[in-house]
Subunit: 270 residues, 2 copies
């Protein structure tokens, strides 16, 4: 199993790259090709759009690569996702793609294009407390589809997105078909009022309303408000589900943390 | 001219209410009825949804009220906007409504419903540096449609929205028809990467792409990033305009500050 790492959003830290390479070496069941683009820099991004796009297209087209693992989130994959998915090379269809958070823009577009994608931990997660377990979990899925890596309550077909990313996907060419899926969402570093506002936005979408059920992952690093919001994230999500006739089926084991589990997206016809 | 003040989002500070009443008393050309709901509290909001909705419906239906002035922004008007616009009482059609920021959810829905609305300063703005001028500007427009209150470069028909509010309006029943309008946007307290992401979202909308041209108001209190984003707000907005074939016509005199000018929305058929 040969896994390529590219960074369509922000740059990978070199200490993360080294730590993940050590984990891979100790496993002995895979090989990690960390693309030099992962360490490029252009302001917020891991290199200019053209550089990030070229690296992603290169590994997608490489028949010797079995998996493409997004280095980390941050922001920026949406800027290149449509171009990455134009004229998809045949070799791109025989590999799996994994990431989460901002990489959700790519997961959505790739899923829509019929590629094999999964929500799951990324190399930069190794720097979290307990991050080695997160990275090992991702590799267990990439290497051998180990079911112990999976989010434990999955009722397939399932999709998983960061809530803000999902909101920004709606109405774009990358918007995934949500009908009949179990949808898992999670959020990080937002105010509760912003989460409420985002749920107003997404729950107005007929596509969103067509899901089978919703589960909520972790909502972490909630930003402090000048006035207490007055309720919590599960109550906010549950409230909007009630308003829009969606089944709220409780919590999910995904989030911006080392316990983040894998959610394989259903494979769609190309 | 009898002006009602209600708070569909967050509570009005009592010192703001007193200061605005003093300004109104000194003018002698209008009367301000500050609804007690403005001082209600329910967590983040100026009272529960039902209380905020009832106050708004009450002043909309009151034939003795000539103008409804939203007390302040914050968050929450979206939660009651659809209900506020159900079975619009006849008296609601002969008054003007003014506000900005979070009140944009109401401005959008009211404009869509054929009511007379304008973007402009709100009572709570009196607490800003130079806020007396902002409040006087709003009153000049409400009282006598004083053209000196207007955003100086307007090419009607024009609409104005906070960018995040506009993004969250898309796909909802409140989404305004943007075709052929000059659209003014502004932003406050967001990271530059979030502004870029929001422009990705809105510029994918065919409705957004149907505007005549876009102008950018102030982008204030930009949140500091761990890595410098690498460009600024006008470059971000200009870049997405280029990508989506929209004319970017430079800056506009609106924003979350005391220099915020009035933008009257075009009156639509009811």
């Amino acid at each position: 199993m040969r896994i390529a790492v590219v960074a369509p959003s922000c740059a990978l830290k070199s200490e993360a790259a080294e730590a993940v390479q050590s984990i891979v070496a100790a496993r002995g069941d895979c090989e990690l090709a960390i693309h030099s683009q992962c360490f490029a820099s252009d302001g917020h991004f891991a290199g200019p759009d053209a550089v990030r796009l070229a690296a992603l297209r290169e590994v997608m087209a490489d028949p010797d690569i079995d998996a493409v693992w997004f280095a980390r989130g941050g922001y920026g994959s949406n800027r290149i996702a449509e171009a990455a998915l134009a004229d998809i090379p045949e070799a791109a269809r025989s590999k799996i793609y994994m990431g989460y958070s901002d990489a959700g823009f790519l997961l959505a577009g790739m899923h829509k294009a019929g590629l094999d994608v999964a929500w799951g931990p990324m190399p930069q997660d190794v720097l979290r407390d307990g991050g080695e377990a997160a990275v090992s979990r991702a590799l267990d899925w990439l290497d051998r589809r180990d079911p112990s890596a999976l989010e434990p309550g999955l009722r397939a077909p399932a999709l998983a997105f960061n809530l803000t990313v999902l909101s920004n996907l709606l109405g774009t060419p990358l918007e995934p078909d949500l009908s009949g899926v179990e949808l898992l969402i999670e959020e990080v570093s937002e105010h509760l009022y912003a989460i409420d506002r985002t749920m107003f936005h997404v729950s107005a979408s007929s596509n969103f309303r067509s899901i089978a059920r919703l589960r909520l992952g972790r909502v972490s690093d909630v930003l402090v408000n000048d006035v207490e919001f007055g309720t919590d994230a599960p109550a906010i999500i549950g409230g909007w589900c009630r308003r829009s006739g969606i089944e709220f089926a409780g919590r999910a084991a995904i989030g911006h943390d080392a316990e983040n589990r894998v959610v394989p997206f259903p494979r769609r016809p190309a």
